[in-house]
């Protein structure tokens, strides 16, 4: 089944490799790192690529490779939690609004639009002020903010599905609303949901990086790719490698999940399949 899905599906193959690399880093972070990622060594300040530090070292001599490996924990935690929050809230809100009667629909759509207009950074500041800045407050802010976008897209797509002939035909067969949601709306939403989920992964990884940079996310010294990137900024011309490594890591995660989302959509949609089952 997996082999058949992979066949000729370049997005899925490339995406799976990239996502696997990230997960391999996550597992590795619990088993082994070349150095303690927090160990400071003044002698190695701005060390270049060498046998001693494969990817070099930062200003205070911390090993970059070790930080990248351990930083994958924050990134994948952020991605998983943000997707869970955004998809659970967004999809249920979107479907509820789509099936609600006309009278309740427009106030709910307004509510979603207001939530959509509310800046995620402001929400992150509020949450950080109340609960203290941490990865969790950053992710909660990202999740809530993207949930509104997911709700809006879900509502529109679900609305189109509910207006389709096959839903009318299902009604004509005596199907209940609940059965129609389960058997007709959800499967036909699936492709759009996958795209949204992979977009949420990308957005949340990037947003966590910026929030950490602003001091509203993962607090130091715990390594985070976003903060590594932010920290490298002042030395960009002196030591560009410092920015390149976390940058590459972020690109691999974001691109990997996007490609997987794209590839899986192709597997799920029978009309896009090249070989008919």
């Amino acid at each position: 089944m997996i082999r058949k899905a992979m066949k000729g599906n370049v997005s899925l193959i490339a995406g799976s490799i990239m996502v696997s690399i990230t997960f391999a880093l996550l597992i590795l972070s619990f088993i082994w790192t070349p150095y303690d990622p927090l160990a400071v060594n003044a002698d190695d300040s701005f060390a270049g690529i060498s046998m001693r530090h494969i990817l070099g070292a930062d200003k205070i001599g911390r090993d970059i490779l070790s930080q990248i490996i351990v930083g994958s924990r924050v990134t994948l935690f952020v991605a998983a939690l943000a997707v869970t929050i955004a998809m659970t809230l967004g999809v249920s809100a979107g479907i509820i609004i789509a099936i609600a009667s006309r009278k309740y629909q427009s106030p709910m759509i307004y509510a979603v639009n207001i939530a959509l207009a509310f800046p995620a950074a402001l929400l992150a500041i509020i949450l950080a002020a109340i609960y203290g800045a941490s990865t969790i407050t950053a992710v909660a802010a990202i999740g809530l903010a993207t949930a509104a976008a997911v709700a809006q897209v879900t509502r529109r797509t679900a609305h189109g599905i509910l207006a389709s002939d096959y839903v009318l035909a299902a009604h004509a067969s005596g199907a209940s609303t609940w059965r129609i949601i389960r058997k007709h709306v959800m499967p036909n939403l699936r492709a759009s949901l996958l795209i949204q989920a992979s977009a949420v992964v990308s957005v949340s990884v990037l947003a966590e990086s910026s929030l950490s940079y602003l001091g509203l996310g993962t607090p130091p010294p715990a390594p985070s790719w976003g903060r590594m990137l932010a920290g490298s900024q002042q030395y960009l011309f002196v030591n560009p490698l410092l920015a390149i490594w976390p940058g590459i890591a972020i690109v691999i995660v974001v691109l990997g999940f996007n490609l997987v989302g794209d590839g899986v959509r192709e597997v799920f949609d029978p009309t896009l399949r090249r070989i008919d089952s």
Partner: protein
């Protein structure tokens, strides 16, 4: 007592009446054709019987089916009739099937909903229904997705779904309009045979006069939401009472004449 009785049925969207106090009745096993141009209210009438009008529509009058008043019936009670006592075939056979669900499950659907059958039992019955509607290689078709079938095959599936629970009434809403001409005749013959075999009543909605003449014994001609003439097919053809009926017939005749080479050239 008649199976279906429609009395002074009026359907309006805001101030606009799309169906204007129409009445007709249908005995058990009888057939009626609803004919008219698009916008004449014929499809709205069939949706009203099914209880599938959009909630922006206001409906008044009365529709009784098997002695039960359908107007004002709760959606829950109405859904017990839909697909069970009343089956419906739609105009566009591709869009009326869920593109992501295998055909077998779609045919088994009404059986699972109304007869409480398991998926396995439903699929076994779906296989028999496929044979009944004349589909070749039913095993393959049950596993196929809608886009893998031809238009005619899809409409046969639509018919299998509508007839799965042996309904007392079949509503066919322009079931052949979207099909190739050669396939049209096959599907019409199939509907004819099946309705006869099942002893169901038939409401046949169309804008095509020759089609309705082949399918039903009575025709209600609709124009702008009103039934302007309700007569037997023979009466309608030989002595049409209403101006609009005459226009329909002459249009059908001239199409036939030009086809047989008589028309304008002579």
């Amino acid at each position: 007592m008649s199976l279906l009785e429609v009395n002074n049925l009026t359907i309006a969207f805001g101030n606009k009446k799309v169906v204007d106090s129409i009445s007709f009745s249908l005995d058990k096993g009888a057939r009626i054709g609803l004919i008219g141009e698009s916008g004449s209210g014929k499809s709205m009438t069939s949706l009203a019987i099914m209880g599938l009008l959009p909630d922006t529509a206001t409906v008044s009058g009365s529709i009784t089916f098997e002695g039960q008043e359908l107007i004002g019936l709760s959606d829950r009670d109405h859904s017990r009739l839909r697909g069970n006592r009343i089956g419906m075939v739609f105009q566009e056979p591709l869009t009326a099937l869920n593109p992501l669900m295998r055909i077998g499950k779609q045919i088994a659907g009404p059986l699972m909903i109304h007869k409480g059958q398991s998926l396995k039992a439903g699929l076994e019955n779906a296989l028999e229904l496929c044979i009944k509607v004349g589909l070749p290689d039913p095993d393959r078709i049950l596993r196929a997705y809608p886009h893998q079938l031809s238009g005619g095959q899809r409409q046969r599936i639509g018919l299998a779904i509508a007839l799965a629970c042996d309904p007392a009434l079949l509503i066919a809403d322009e079931p052949t309009t979207a099909l190739d001409v050669t396939v049209q005749q096959e599907v019409l013959n199939l509907i004819n045979t099946l309705v006869q075999e099942e002893r169901s009543s038939l409401v046949f909605v169309t804008h095509d006069l020759p089609v309705v003449a082949a399918m039903t014994e009575n025709v209600a001609v609709m124009q702008l939401g009103k039934i302007v003439e309700n007569a037997s097919v023979a009466t309608l053809f030989h002595a049409p009472a209403h101006e609009y009926s005459r226009r329909l017939i002459s249009a059908a005749r001239s199409a036939e004449d030009s086809f047989s080479g008589k028309g304008a050239h002579q």
